[in-house]
Amino acid sequence: MILKVKNLHKIYKNGMHALKGLNIEVQKGEFLVIIGLSGSGKSTLLRCINRLIEPTAGTVEFMGKDITHVKGEELRKVKAQIGMIFQHFNLINRHSVLKNVISGKLGQLKTLNSILGNFTDDIYEEAYRNLEIVGIKEKAKERADTLSGGEQQRVAIARSLMQNPKLLLADEPVASLDPATSNSVMKFFEKVNKEFGTTVICNLHFLSLVRKYATRVIALKSGEIIYEGEPSEIDEKWFKTIYGEEAEEVEIR
């Protein structure tokens, strides 16, 4: 088991109770998709797992170790093993694609070397290799903000691959991309999952993508798990429960 979340609570300062005692177990090599409306706690869950925000109560175990309260150097080591992809890519716009990809390695580099830009040839090679995996090696020298949305997200994937992550968290990675690009970006997640055996936890909105890529689905509604199972088992009735009576499924191809 790679990840075990026990009775996880998150209460924000404004009193918003975002997570209400979640229990989740994730096996190695899974492609777990989390669905639910905006504000249901999906992003909060992912950020509590890699401690970008602090959970209020409960525990998170990563590779058999309780990481809920680790600090400093130890926390950075944990973070270095967990890759994260964001909805808005979060690249450094003014840096080149290559430099963005290399920044994924920061957790494993000496501070002074990383600031002076002293990277070994191995790191450059690894960066080019990862750019090749996501198919944009030829754009390595370009500024990150000149790339299209889909390409930027692929750079972000390459960046997190630099960490050699055991676990890859993706927070609505295709929510700001068009349907065709969404699918091609999702294919790279599938590739990472199948070829490197990296466990993926991904927040998604489109059920057609969920059915295509997920090995297991968890649905959240106002901070609680209301569904857990195979993607194929989500029928009309479950859909209405998860997204509300008004909702209708939008097909994307």
């Binding site: 300062k13 973070k79 967990i82 960490q163």
Partner: protein, 358 residues
């Protein structure tokens, strides 16, 4: 942060507890503000409006006892006003009762405060339409303007030299300020320093010092330094430097505070340490604003350097002061003309540069 990991306490309790605490804090704040409002109104009513306007006294009677009595009265009135939960401050802090009385109380007291402030301001500044349009005054102004518009070019060489001195005072103050400000600004950015107690104390103390330094005008700094290092361009330069550091550190750190959090999140998620996060996610986002602020500050410093010259900071300002003291208005006219041209040119250049780098 509600970092309580106490498992015995249910999350609902934590929420309620936080709410209750916040309400109590707001109530205390409201009491203080209400007392201030009442004290302020009574004081203005008594001193500016009653003594000065109605009784038209030349010397206003002053005694600390009187002030203290007024203060005690306002403490009682203010506090009891807050306890009814219908006061202006209760409304401001969102703890007021939602009824007609509150609405009336807030509207009336708001209008009252605004009006007495305006009237007191009128009386205190001795606003007088008669003085502004007296024929004698207008004649004097005409004479002066006439001289200013016929500048005396005999002193052009001297004025040019003084002008160059002023521009260099401003330039050097700006250049030296850059590395110092850069260093300080990271420690005065809230989003970088709020992490733990030690850094937050550093942040707070630094901010306090900078606020203090900034609140003293460059003019005052120039007076201080002209005593310290002697009258002349060096005093002016160092006065500008001190003020530039304090004001730009605020602008810089605000630029740091308003960066996009996304890249910061992404870089920290890779396990990078604090210094790496700042270098990779913060610095690329702030380089342009920093450059822009600095160039703008150079422009401001040229204008300020002339003013600083008035109190012995060297350059064109000192020269202006000398001719003004001798009432040689044609010479003053030339100097004013030169200052205007230089300021206009600097303004134009700095705007163009700032446009170009964005």
């Amino acid at each position: 942060m509600t970092n309580k990991t106490d498992n015995n306490q249910s999350p609902i309790d934590i929420i309620r507890q936080n709410q209750r605490l916040e309400e109590r804090v707001n109530f205390i704040k409201a009491i203080f503000l209400d007392i201030f409002f009442v004290f302020y109104s009574i004081l203005l009513l008594q001193r500016a409006i009653y003594y000065k306007f109605i009784l038209d006294l030349r010397d206003i009677p002053f005694s600390w006892e009187g002030i203290i009595i007024l203060f005690v009265i306002s403490v009682f009135i203010g506090a009891s006003w807050t306890f009814t939960k219908t006061s202006l401050s209760c409304k401001l802090f969102g703890i007021a009762k939602d009824n007609k009385v509150t609405k009336w109380s807030v509207e009336i007291s708001g209008w009252f405060l605004f009006n007495i402030t305006f009237i007191a301001g009128w009386i205190i500044t001795k606003l007088s339409i008669v003085d502004l349009f007296s024929s004698e005054g207008i004649k004097g102004a005409e004479r002066l303007f006439g001289a200013l518009f016929k500048p005396e070019f005999g002193i052009f060489d001297d004025a040019l030299f003084a002008m160059i001195e002023t521009i260099y005072i401003a330039l050097l103050a700006t250049l030296i300020s850059i590395p110092i400000t850069l260093f300080i600004s990271f420690f005065t950015a809230r989003n970088l320093m709020k992490g733990n107690k030690t850094t937050f104390i550093i942040y707070y103390v630094l901010r306090l010092i900078l606020n203090f330094v900034r609140s003293i005008e460059p003019l005052i700094w120039a007076i201080i330094f002209s005593v310290w290092v002697g009258i002349g361009p060096f005093a002016g330069m160092i006065a500008l430097l001190v003020h530039t550091i304090a004001s730009n550190a605020k602008l810089y750190s605000e630029a740091i505070e308003s960066i996009e959090q996304g890249p910061v999140e992404a870089i920290s998620a890779t396990g990078a340490n604090k210094i790496q996060v700042v270098w990779y996610a913060v610095v690329p986002q702030i380089i342009l604003p920093f450059l822009s602020f600095t160039i703008y500050r150079w422009d401001i410093n040229v204008r300020m350097a002339t003013i600083i010259g008035l109190v012995g900071g060297g350059g064109i300002g000192t020269m202006l002061m000398q001719y003004q003291g001798l009432a040689m208005w044609h010479e003053v006219g030339l100097i004013v003309l030169m200052i205007a041209i230089v300021v206009w040119v600097m303004d134009y250049i700095s705007a163009k540069i700032r446009e170009a780098i964005y």
